[in-house]
Each structure stands twice: as C-alpha cells, then as structure tokens.
Symmetry: C2
Subunit: 147 residues, 2 copies
Amino acid sequence: MMELTRKGEYAIRAILYLSRQPRGKLSLVGEIAESAGIPRTFLSKILQQFTRTGLVASFRGMGGGFTLARDPAGITLLEVVEAIEGPVLPNRCLVGEGTCERDRICRVHEVWGRVRDEIVAILAGVTIEELARGREGFAVDDLTRSR
Amino acid sequence: MMELTRKGEYAIRAILYLSRQPRGKLSLVGEIAESAGIPRTFLSKILQQFTRTGLVASFRGMGGGFTLARDPAGITLLEVVEAIEGPVLPNRCLVGEGTCERDRICRVHEVWGRVRDEIVAILAGVTIEELARGREGFAVDDLTRSR
DNA sequence: CTATAAAAAGACAAAAAAGGTCCAATAGGT
DNA sequence: ACCTATTGGACCTTTTTTGTCTTTTTATAG
C-alpha cells in the first residue's frame, strides 16, 4: 500500500534531471526522456503538468525546451509530488468536511490526519537541490544513465 | 495520492465492529455487512483474508460466524491495514534490495524510507481497542448505523 | 443420514485508474 | 514559407479495484 505511481517516479527523475542542468539551459523532451529512462510521450504530459503548475518553464519552436522555473534549492519534494499526484490524502474522508459522516465521531480519521501531516512534513523538508546533490560523491550523471 | 482503498476502509470498519461485540460472540457476514455498510460478498472476501492472517477466527455451519481471534487491545491498526493491503511501501524501490539499481545512489529512496517508517510507527501506535472506544462518549453504535 | 446453515474457494465481470500512444494545432525561430 | 518544438486532446491497452455468482466444504440440528 501507499505506493508512489510510476508517473510520480518519472516526475521526480525529470525534475532531478532539470535541476542538474546549467541554470537557464533548455532541455528537450526527448533528451530528458532518454537520459532518465522515461517514455517520451508520457514524459511530455508530465512536463506539461509541471509547466501548468509553474514549476517548469517551457519554450516552443526551434531552440525551445524545458527548464526549471525556480531555483532547485527552493523547490521541495512535496511540491513536485503534489504537482503530479495531487494532494497527500491517505484517506478519502480527509478530502473535505462532511465527505464522511463519521468525521467527528471516528478516531480513525484523526490517525490518518496524523499520517498525512507527517508525510507532508517529511516531503516538505527536502529540497530538489539536496536530492540532486546525491551522496558520497557519486557522479550525478551516473544516476540517470544507470538504466 | 497515498489513499487508503475502499477495501482497506471496509476492513477497518469490520474489525471495529467485531471488536465491539461481546468477547467470544460470533457475528455473521450479513450482520456485519449491513451494520457497517459494506457490500456483503465483498466483505466475505475481506474476512477470509483476516482469518488467513489469523486476526479473525471463523466457524462454519449453523451457529457459525466470525469473531476476533485476539484481544482488540493487542491488535494494532498497522496489523489490520497490512493484513488487507500488504506492507506499507510508499515506493516500489523499497520492496527489496536490488529492485532499483539506484538504491544506493539516490537520496530519494532514503526520504521514502523515512516516510514509510513514520507511517508504520503511527499505525503501530494505535490499537483497535482505542479506536473502538471512540471519543467524547459517543454511542459506538451510532458509528456503524450512520450510513 | 439428511436437511439446513454458514464460511471458503474460485471463476467471472464491470468500472476505474494507470500507463501510454498518436496526431493535429499552435507558437517561435530562420 | 518552413522547420522545430511544445500543447492539447482523443484514443488505447493493461492493471487494479470493486465487486458478483456459483459451487464446495464444514458443521449442526433433527
């Protein structure tokens, strides 16, 4: 249970790829797709979603492509994941008031609320810049080529 | 993202129902289903899963039915959820060593590991008995009839 | 031993979500 | 104009979810 979808994984990989490019440089869908091992057309949709939410900037026509719209140090993992998979909601009953009539009665909801809060806190505490740095001195490029 | 499935919700409701019955009393599928608002045949499968994992005991034939196999105070929410939905794995790459080649390289995995650990800790910290008690003196029966 | 009552097992099926593909349209550069 | 690249939308396939239905097994009562 509680799995991140493939789309979510792709999304993170794509953002990580972009974050490792020189600031301002534009990358093509095909380029990112090949490097990160993501189906090209599917990635296209993911990037469109990112541009809609403002995390990524896109430019059309010759010389166009994608680039991060903001500094990777200011983008959290939570933002990335929520941009693609929607808000963290470990239980439907937390969607909104009144969705579940048992809201105010049942203890289970309070527990799921705590689960959500913890997940959000952890994901909000990690930036893309930190993630892209990797650890123990691995060449970052090895990451994306390893598949 | 990260939603509990309907099956998981049903499972919790069913266990909660059983935990409110007098110790040793057997409940019929139909009885639980109606009271907790769960499709009868679907609940049947859920209870079968519970008996297989040993959380619930079942008896066939006339006078048969289901009952908790253990004291509700000793059953955690984690056990219930994992019995039905499988282990908490917020990322496929945590399934086993080597499933993801990026395991030892990528920081993302470490983050998801923390997420999993937190979820597990929270769910393992709540017992069915606590949940069934509800709060603020609500009649527990109101819970299951409210739908 | 037979009728009845209940869970168990397994096959089946509809609906929704996940995971993509394809193509026409649009916008930008040369 | 023409090429290039993203955008948008329609479409499709596979898997998962959410069930149902039927048959079998086990237990009890008469």
